[in-house]
């Protein structure tokens, strides 16, 4: 895929999202990747909230808001319904936040993967409950301050490894991505759409409001996440993991952490510990 091959048509505009929101960018890229033969299920989160209030309807394709815990079950049902109606050509896509995926939605997700219907479940990960004002989720990284883990007590549990969790379900296809690498992401979305079964894509989507950085840095910060090893671009297919992108330069994580107010309180020792974890994972 090349930039110039991407559809020019815009299918998502004028949402109430923050300026510089990577999640909004994620929606835009997703629909471009799949085209208008796709329908979207979005549970309670930033994306649904900034897209669902009458009379504003920023999705130009079919979209439905779902209860917070219910995304994957809805995907399963829609997929079965379309199958019954001979419309397997329509892509059934979930756009769920980290909270809606790793916490309250994990059961429905686990169940839907087990059930085996065809859908694409996309988890856009901004590492906290942003819609309700920056509370910690199961995907908030160690060290981050949120409104429920305010410093000095900050988040003291590691980030749940959703990729390993869905891989443990023997899902036919899963991948990680980041909004700073749009082509990589869109290719993965297209790949997922060609699988006849449940698929999962986990995309890191930096949030200027929740992480504490200026809106214009959204892309740069996603890049730093990958380059520092805080995030990886991978695929899981046929039971195997694979890295799809290895950054040319590896940056120290301190640079990444320094860009965001949520990490402001970390001591050099704590930062060193995070760096150590990253280095250990690399080996």
């Amino acid at each position: 895929m090349k930039l110039k091959d991407i559809a020019k048509e815009e299918f998502y505009r004028a949402s109430y999202g923050c300026a510089g929101c990577a999640a909004v960018l994620m929606v835009r890229l997703t629909i471009k990747a799949l085209g208008k033969n796709s329908v979207y299920v979005v549970p309670a989160n930033c994306i649904s909230t900034v897209s669902c209030y009458y009379p504003q309807a920023p999705f130009f394709v079919p979209f439905t808001v779902m209860a917070f815990a219910a995304t994957a079950a809805a995907l399963s049902g829609i997929s079965a319904g379309f199958r019954r109606r001979g419309r397997e050509d329509i892509h059934v896509v979930g756009l769920s936040g980290d909270g809606g995926t790793a916490d309250i939605g994990i059961q429905a997700l686990s169940g839907a993967i087990d059930c085996g219907n065809k859908f694409i479940y996309i988890c856009y990960d901004n590492e906290a409950y942003m819609n309700t004002g920056i509370q910690r989720s199961g995907l908030t990284p160690y060290g981050a301050a949120t409104s429920t883990t305010p410093s000095p007590c900050f988040e003291n549990r590691p980030k749940k490894d959703m990729m390993r969790i869905v891989a443990a379900h023997d899902i036919p296809y899963a991948a990680t991505a980041c909004t700073s690498y749009p082509l990589d992401y869109m290719e993965k979305v297209v790949k997922a759409s060609q699988v006849n079964g449940p698929t999962y894509i986990h995309i890191l989507a930096p949030c200027p409001t929740g992480w504490g950085f200026p809106p214009d840095e959204t892309i740069e910060i996603g890049r730093m996440a990958v380059e520092s090893g805080m995030w990886h671009l991978t695929e899981f297919e046929n039971g195997e993991f694979r890295t799809t992108y290895t950054p040319k330069r590896q940056r120290p994580v301190s640079e990444y952490l320094a860009t965001q107010t949520r990490f402001r309180h970390l001591s050099p020792e704590q930062i060193a510990a995070i760096q150590k974890e990253i280095d250990a994972a690399r080996d």
């Binding site: 109430y16 923050c18 300026a19 929101c21 900034v50 669902c52 209030y53 200027p208 409001t209 809106p215």
Partner: protein, 188 residues
């Protein structure tokens, strides 16, 4: 509603993240904690995000405030960002004689037309905030200006409210901004 119990109703206009809600709150606590009055303050809530035009409100009275309804007819309107003048009808519902305080570097004359029945004051709070606080957060400067142009609250109470609300390390700078704005609009 009840004429004998006159309510002062203040509407704040700002953009998400500019501090309108905190401004409304500091005004309320200033009169309630330090002037023996009653006050309530509350934001308007929407699904909008940072950057969106937002409102906040302060209701002030000499008597206990029991009403929980919205403010439709403000007696004072505070505008934190003059770019809002193009996109929001800031005078909507204003009572006759209401005071309007706008943060702008432009003189009143160069602003969009505002009905004559309203008393407009402008102040370059952004400049004052930049100078005194170092960032363009204008709510405390606007509170100082408010004390300067209306009898709603004293500068002294505003200073106390700032001191009891903001993090210690920024208190002095914000008090300085309030004072500067107070003076700028002719308060004494």
């Amino acid at each position: 509603m009840n004429q004998k119990r006159r309510l002062e109703e203040v509407r704040w206009h700002g953009r998400g993240g500019q501090g309108a809600v905190l401004g409304a709150s500091m005004l309320g606590s200033a009169v309630a904690l330090y002037e023996g009055k009653y006050a309530v303050s509350f934001p308007s809530f929407g699904a909008e995000r940072r950057g969106a035009p937002v409102q906040a409100f302060t209701r002030i009275s000499d008597h206990a405030i029991r009403t929980r309804s919205q403010i439709y007819n403000p007696t004072t309107i505070i505008v934190l960002d003059d770019t809002l003048l193009d996109v929001v009808d800031i005078t909507s519902g204003a009572r006759d004689g209401a005071s309007i305080l706008i943060n702008t570097r432009k003189p009143a004359g160069r602003l969009p037309k505002i009905p004559d029945s309203l008393n407009v004051t402008t102040v370059d709070a952004t400049e004052i905030a930049r100078e005194n606080i170092g960032v363009a957060i204008v709510n405390t400067a606007m509170l100082g200006a408010l004390a300067g142009v209306t009898g709603l609250v004293s500068l002294d109470s505003i200073k106390k409210a700032i001191a009891s609300t903001l993090p210690e390390k920024v208190v002095d700078r914000n008090i300085a901004a309030a004072e500067a704005a107070y003076k700028k609009v002719g308060g004494k």
